[in-house]
């Protein structure tokens, strides 16, 4: 190259078409171990174990998840809240719930519901439960703002809302137990 005059080198370089890419050049050559004969080994992608593997991966990766897993702490908090609420309602019905007790009851109930809501927001696919807890919070706020004692006649909406949130926990628990059973039976097979 040192013997070629610089202007000739640049002229030859300019006339030579540049390869499109390095991959193109490599593809053009026949590799030393490339099988150019008529008989070819079928690639692994066509083998039975490979297809079975793909189906296996498909099944294991597509387990349906529509609801968040059951959370024991949320369920326990809800049970405690239900007990406190029913106790307050019983006291209010018998006229034994003082102003101070009532204020304390609402504060504690709202604190519990907000704790549950925060905990629920940590799980994916839990939007329905978060909405339900927001509505439960609203029931306590409404009762407190109404300024009356939580008598059973006035707390029917609240009781119904608590029952609905309990049903959400029951559905999630049943689903978690079922999923655990499936995994267990799958591992023993």
């Amino acid at each position: 190259m040192s013997k070629i005059k610089p202007y000739l080198f640049f002229e030859r370089f300019a006339r030579t078409p540049a390869p499109e890419s390095r991959i193109e050049r490599v593809k053009a050559r026949l590799m030393p171990n490339e099988n150019a004969s008529h008989f070819q080994i079928r690639p692994m992608i066509c083998s039975r174990p490979f297809i079975a593997g793909v189906i296996a991966a498909l099944f294991t990766s597509c387990a349906a998840v529509f609801v968040a897993p059951y959370d024991e702490t949320t369920d326990r908090l809800l049970t405690d809240l239900s007990v406190k609420t029913e106790t307050a309602i019983a006291k209010a019905d018998s006229g034994k719930l003082s102003e101070e007790d009532r204020a304390k009851f609402y504060d504690e109930a709202l604190g519990t519901v907000r704790t549950m809501k925060r905990r629920s927001s940590l799980y994916a696919k839990n939007e329905d439960e978060i909405k339900a807890l927001t509505q439960l919070e609203q029931r306590y706020v409404d009762l407190r703002e109404h300024g009356s004692s939580p008598r059973s006649s006035l707390a029917t909406g609240l009781r119904s809302t608590i029952l609905s949130v309990q049903q959400i926990q029951i559905a999630k628990k049943r689903s978690s137990v079922f999923s655990a059973g499936l995994k267990k039976s799958g591992s023993t097979e």
Binding site: I55, F59, Q138, R139, H146, S175, S179, L182
Partner: protein
Amino acid sequence: MPEINIQKLTQDIIAAATGAAKGHAADLRQYVEEHARIIAEGVKQIASDRLQNKITDDDVRFAFDQIKESEATSLLAIQVTLKAAAQDAINAAISIAEAAINKAIGIALF
């Protein structure tokens, strides 16, 4: 290598899926009954308290509004139960299909 009996597999999948959803259906029925009982008892209590002047007309309106509002949460509870039932039914069906594949190819892939 054993063949997969499509008819038997289909029946097994249907049985597993419906079996998985049955428990949720029973829970849902129980919930709807209990919900109806709470509302019925509440309405009775509202009428009784108003007749005895324990609550005012404003309280009655408030109580009914609260019952109406609580129905939105009831809908959410039913939605979650149906989603959970669908989830279990689908996963039960997948589990049966997995077992059939394992048996057919002779290797425990799952």
